[in-house]
Symmetry: C2
Subunit: 218 residues, 2 copies
């Protein structure tokens, strides 16, 4: 059965998935890059960006499993790019160059319609203007029985979480404080929604936890 | 120099230091006891309650260091007991029996005056009605150059944290979700207050982090 999964999503010790004052220069907010140190050092992430080497232990295992059996992705618009409001033209095609690291259909949540963009390497960006359930339906149809990964950002994950639609969630808790920013869980009662911590694997760089939802809820 | 320290304070993955619906039966709120599994299994905690055995590795090292060089404690009233409002009589003497595990002066924050209580084993409970700074001054005078430990609960720690008075904070992040309850960091910008994560030591039972404040702030 197709699952909706969050993978390799990193939060700070104080629960923020992005720092304050996000901007084009600081797309993850002030201090936000520090969250992802554990991931950038893995072989999986380095390969994705054409680099050699990298860690191959637990951190890498979690980074790698985030790409296992994924048939489609869902992204919030801010993860696709910095443009807000109407698309001024067709030139922006994501942060990732001509051959993005997805290689499957990617559904981008936006209020502003745009024609799909077929990229090299199997990635096609589809723009969904009628909400998170519609994006999930379309992703499910495209995933061919494989799972769907919600890439983020924080607000997109919060929307799917609140709706109880996320089946499994791998979080990495990084040993940094952000102080402010976008909080992943604020005001969301994960226990009432049926989530529990199914796995905890700490490393020197992050604490990995896997949250799962029990069908039927709490 | 006397430091104000928080030690062995445990929060859930979603940041709560106590669960929802605290009551006499569930003083830590629903699900709150699960936070402390890592601590209850340590030799340090078991000895404190007259039991043999227990873990002796990293978890125990953190539990034990929480008692090193402590010359006084500060507790919120709810940690001292379940009674709210005026003291009906002098009978309640804490949760811990005749010989509490403090063995030094303990300053209890309350709005309701009460005479000090000298217990067996060196613990004396002092009741402070004029706020957190006063409690800290009195604790400092009593600590004889050693450190002061803020025991909790969440709201007491938040008050000292907001005031930038805590020098060092050992938190354990337990692999459980609480969903609701008392959130340790909500609305507190620890980075602006000058805190950073100085140490992270994960175990199978919890992720231990030590936060330190840089004098002068952020």
């Amino acid at each position: 059965m197709t699952k909706l999964r969050v993978e390799s999503f990193t939060i700070s010790l104080d629960g923020y998935g992005a720092g304050p004052d996000q901007s084009l220069e600081n797309p993850l907010g002030i201090g936000g890059m520090a969250l992802h140190a554990w991931a950038f050092e893995t072989r999986t992430f380095r390969q994705m960006f054409g680099q050699d080497g990298g860690t191959t232990e637990v951190d890498d295992r979690f980074a790698a499993r985030g790409f296992d059996n994924i048939g489609a992705w869902i992204l919030g618009r801010n993860m696709f790019g910095p443009i807000r409001g109407h698309w001024p033209d067709e030139s922006w095609k994501g942060w990732w160059g001509d051959n993005p690291p997805y290689h499957v259909p990617v559904f981008v949540l936006t209020h502003h319609p745009r024609a799909p963009i077929a990229m090299d390497g199997g990635t096609t960006f589809h723009f969904v203007t009628d909400g998170i359930e519609s994006a999930l339906r379309q992703a499910r149809a495209a995933a061919g029985g494989r799972d769907i990964r919600v890439g983020g950002g924080v607000e997109t994950i919060r929307q799917y979480l609140r709706a109880g639609l996320i089946d499994e969630m791998h979080l990495a808790i990084a040993p940094v404080l952000l102080g402010a920013g976008e909080h992943l869980f604020a005001g969301i009662d994960t226990v009432k929604l049926g989530y529990r911590c199914a796995e905890q694997v700490p490393t020197a760089n992050a604490t990995h936890v896997v949250l799962k939802r029990t069908p039927g809820g709490a």
